[in-house]
Assembly symmetry: C2
Homo-oligomer: 408 residues x 2
Amino acid sequence: MPVNYSTPSPDQLHPVPGVRLGVTEAGIRKKHRRDLALIALDEGATVAGVFTLNRFCAAPVTLCREHLAAHNDMRALIINTGIANAGTGAPGLSAAVNTCDAVAKTLGIEARQVLPFSTGVILELLPTERVIAGLDACRNDLRADGWHNAAHAIMTTDTVAKAASRRVTIAGKTVTITGISKGAGMIRPNMATMLGFVATDAGISAPLLQKLVKEAADASFNCITVDGDTSTNDSFILIATDKNEIQVNAEGTPEWVAVRQAIIEVTVELAQAIIRDGEGATKFITIAVEGGKTREEGRKVAYAIGHSPLVKTAFFASDPNLGRIQAAVGYAGIDDLDVAGTRIWLGDLLVSEHGGRAVGYKEEDGSRVMKESEITVRVDLGRGLATATVWTCDFSYDYVKINADYRS
Amino acid sequence: MPVNYSTPSPDQLHPVPGVRLGVTEAGIRKKHRRDLALIALDEGATVAGVFTLNRFCAAPVTLCREHLAAHNDMRALIINTGIANAGTGAPGLSAAVNTCDAVAKTLGIEARQVLPFSTGVILELLPTERVIAGLDACRNDLRADGWHNAAHAIMTTDTVAKAASRRVTIAGKTVTITGISKGAGMIRPNMATMLGFVATDAGISAPLLQKLVKEAADASFNCITVDGDTSTNDSFILIATDKNEIQVNAEGTPEWVAVRQAIIEVTVELAQAIIRDGEGATKFITIAVEGGKTREEGRKVAYAIGHSPLVKTAFFASDPNLGRIQAAVGYAGIDDLDVAGTRIWLGDLLVSEHGGRAVGYKEEDGSRVMKESEITVRVDLGRGLATATVWTCDFSYDYVKINADYRS
């Protein structure tokens, strides 16, 4: 059960003019589940993406990078779940190439205009023939209101589909932003998350869109962790279809400010949804670090806390065993950290100061906060002005169960 | 249940002339368990230590560093379990100072000749009065064959006491090395482990002993991880009592070679015992990386695999979901790693090469290896001659259970 999250209803997901989505049950790994999604873009859209930094990146990631580097007239995205097509070497790359060829033939476009994505088990070959056999059904299913279906068709261990949508009005004109994401385990995105797709009908120039996709990823997907495992397939794609009267041509303009803000809101909602549905999660935890010399050292501390199995199991147990948080702050890698200058809060409770237990802190108060389903840990490093936030979840029996059973 | 490990019997632990050990039930955190150990050293012993790099290091660690930096005529070690006396600020330091004072009075030595150690819950104050009240009983219990008792008196979540002993003969003269360790969770030592004490009756000069304690830690305790959490209390102490005819005066001598080798064997055995008794462990896993440009990058890869909750739960499930190992190699932080040049073995099975699945690899073979209780993962990075080895365990329901319940 996700923590305080449910999928928006289909009518809450506004169509984005210029984008149509179709899905099918292609039987890629299991039968009777939607596992293949096709996203078709009208001519004129601009597309930008960020991808995993994992050196064992998946074949489709390699191909996406190549296609986006060469041109910017993308017309289709093809996404399968079940098999990640990662760790598959040359045969995996052939499978991705063949998939793009088949999508091109199905839609009457060129293969270089297709971006492929896969998610699922690593080290197994993609059954390309099943993907190809499902393409006609996807094409026949293409519809502007297909976001809800597509969000379902890209799930793996996700228990709920993840989607978000916004409409903002700028000088009387409406801009729509709608997106979907997937992910629940192997989540510690480094540049992007395990599949996120966001589209707007505004017109945004390619360099600005590339800047925006990075900023949005840094504010959202790059701030989450479930288990510290950076996926081989992380991909986050931002699409601007240029189908309304809003043109984003320069930074700092009212259009830039409003569209950027709405895109970041959508991506943060999608990123947080991944944590709320984190494998085995029972709590949503915000780790807010302040007083760092740099954002980077703040992130080190936030991730040390967010990755600690001891901290995460204590949250699961609602046990205010908060020395574990001190320990994580201490080993986070700031070699000259003066712990006497640090402070740690659980919710609004000051727990640690002067390198020790805060005088007013009572364990029964800590226990009360630990029982909540949304908890904030705040750390003041006391050495600067930089801040960093990471969102994570607790670590439960079900995490082990899910990952000991996955594939079975 | 530890993986293929049981505590040596008392008669397998050779006394070290110049060292006597006594224990008692001081009721520090729980009643009716041995929780306080006193180690008394005869005059003339040399002592060296390495300690945690955690910035939130425990008060006794701070005091040990001070005492060892100032003099080298230590006469006693006092070790309590139950409370770690870490994250306790100025009151914690006072507690450690008062403990040393009381030990000095009990034994008729100076407080600066006492090294204090604590292990247990962080962020809680040490009940110094209970420690002090137990000192007479410890003193009255002092005996040369007290290693077995002491190994029990320093346990926390350990399910078995950990000890090792060797005798080596050099030019007809016998040297004894005996040691104990504790630890099962919050194990990712950085300089040393959560309490290890090894003594020999050889005479070893202070500079050589300091060099040796680092080398032994690097070959043993610094190669293990249970959960990636570096403890606040890690301490590894090496004692040379100078009670036999063997003098180690220079590197490279026959005495140095033989004593060094035996000390490393004892520390490796103690370090591996911690993994075999890792919280919830059902398997002992060796991760051997070769072909690195540097040892450091080999260690990065080994630890990425050894810390991945996905890899560790797959081992627990005996599921050869080996793409998770590829993914960990890929995100370990070698930015210019060419995955096409890497190879991965599970036991003797070549699983991955040329960036993809090895042609001859069959999943049923992988399943067979995964069912064993001792498994080696071998990774060839294909870019140099450096090697690195890390020992770890799997990740089970019981890890969550133990850490969700600890303190309760």
